[in-house]
Amino acid sequence: MSHRVVITGAGTINALGHDVPATLEAMREGRCGIGPLDIRDVDRLAVKIGGQVTDYDELTHFNRQQISLYDRFTQFTLLAARQALGQAGLSFSGDLADRSGVVLGTSGGGLNTQDENYRAVYEEGKNRVHPFIVPKLMNNAATSHVSMEWNLRGPSFTVATACASSNHAMGQAFNMIRSGMAEVMLAGGSESMLCFGGVKAWEGLRVMSKDACRPFSATRNGMVQGEGAGVFVFERLDHAKKRGAEILAEVAGFAMSSDASDIVMPSKQGAARAIAGALRDGGIDRSAVGYINAHGTGTAANDKTECAAVADVFGAQADNLMISSTKSMHGHLIGGTGAVELLACIMALRDGVVAPTIGYEEFDPECALDVVPNAAREAPVEVALSNAFAFGGLNAVLALKRAP
């Protein structure tokens, strides 16, 4: 039994905007959401920039009781899920509720909550913390709150595969609907690591840029962290059609692979196997792919390895497709990044607008593909891929088609 799966709702909050229209407008305009970090003890950090969600006041969205249970990553998730379900126009009861669930990705979970409370007990010497710290910081908190708020009673869990978490999560949701296990799935991911301890840990690896994220540019000097969430409504095609829902795109293929080689250095072979696998899984011919949303972190290692993997899979066809990294605008949302980046794929398929790689300054012969430098481009796209390659060598690639 194999069902077709479509996307009927999308929601987000990230450095480019507090919803999907604002985010897509920023991507079309090639606007940069990366700026000076506004967090406690930023003066003690060597890296002082990030793709932070700005003009955000939790009290406008949640009451005091909710805030005592919702870490920032959970808040972002709930806001994105609310938008996605509002667009899809779905509510859940009876059998549909039992056959619908939530799969979300995150890497750090409630890292802000951990950071604040370690500070309280270690730095401030307190011997008591708030009673809800554990349910607030746990990685599955966001998934559980989405499930509770919208009565989604089917298969639900959280996926943690570092930078590939949300792609892995969306791939699970896709396979569950395709196989008949579920009818509707909320899928995507969220991350909020922009706190002193979170950024300090990343500094240690010495892969962070101090000024900008410039994927594929010869002048690139590292990644920039972002934060936020992206949540989508994945739905069985016949279910969506029967109720006359607007379809944003079709989820057509998915593949995962493991490099089985190094804990931080990426592998061309592992990436290529995931890209080729997603095409095979969706029965998609290489020549149909018009756009790839790259993992494109802006590190020396990722970008050249990713370009080599794409060249490997597509051969001469690699010169005919566009590949861009929107991380240049919203930063690297780690466990939530694939979800926000899927919006760029939807924009390419639905609106025929391909988001640019901004900050591009100089050609790099090791990244010799059409990276859509600095300005968005209008072009019809039939099939789009979204790449995610995580630390630990765990890769996940999704293939989307234009709405049927």
């Binding site: 060597a46 690896l205 010495r206 892969v207 000097n221 931080v264």
Partner: protein, 87 residues
């Protein structure tokens, strides 16, 4: 003082390479010693902690960092400069 710095840097590199300090010569490159990118980042961390200095090094572009890692003697010289700048 100068010899002291050299000895300490060599000890750090030797530990990372799992070699005896006597096997680490000033001419050795990190590649010769089998130190990979993670080993390099750990070595720099150990150097920063040992000498209480901040080493300007970006793993994305080691050759463009203001810290020469082309050989053990280059690293020693760079550390000596950083220690001197600090006093």
């Amino acid at each position: 003082m100068r010899d002291d710095i050299a000895d300490k840097v060599i000890a750090i590199i030797a530990e990372q390479a799992m070699l005896d300090p006597s096997d680490v010569t000033p001419q050795s490159t990190l590649e010769d010693l089998g130190i990979d990118s993670l080993g390099l980042v750990e070595s720099i961390f150990a150097i920063e902690e040992t000498f209480d200095i901040s080493v300007p090094f970006n793993a994305n572009d080691p050759s463009e960092s203001d810290f020469d890692i082309s050989s053990v003697s280059a690293i020693i010289a760079a550390v000596e400069r950083l220690v001197q700048d600090q006093t």
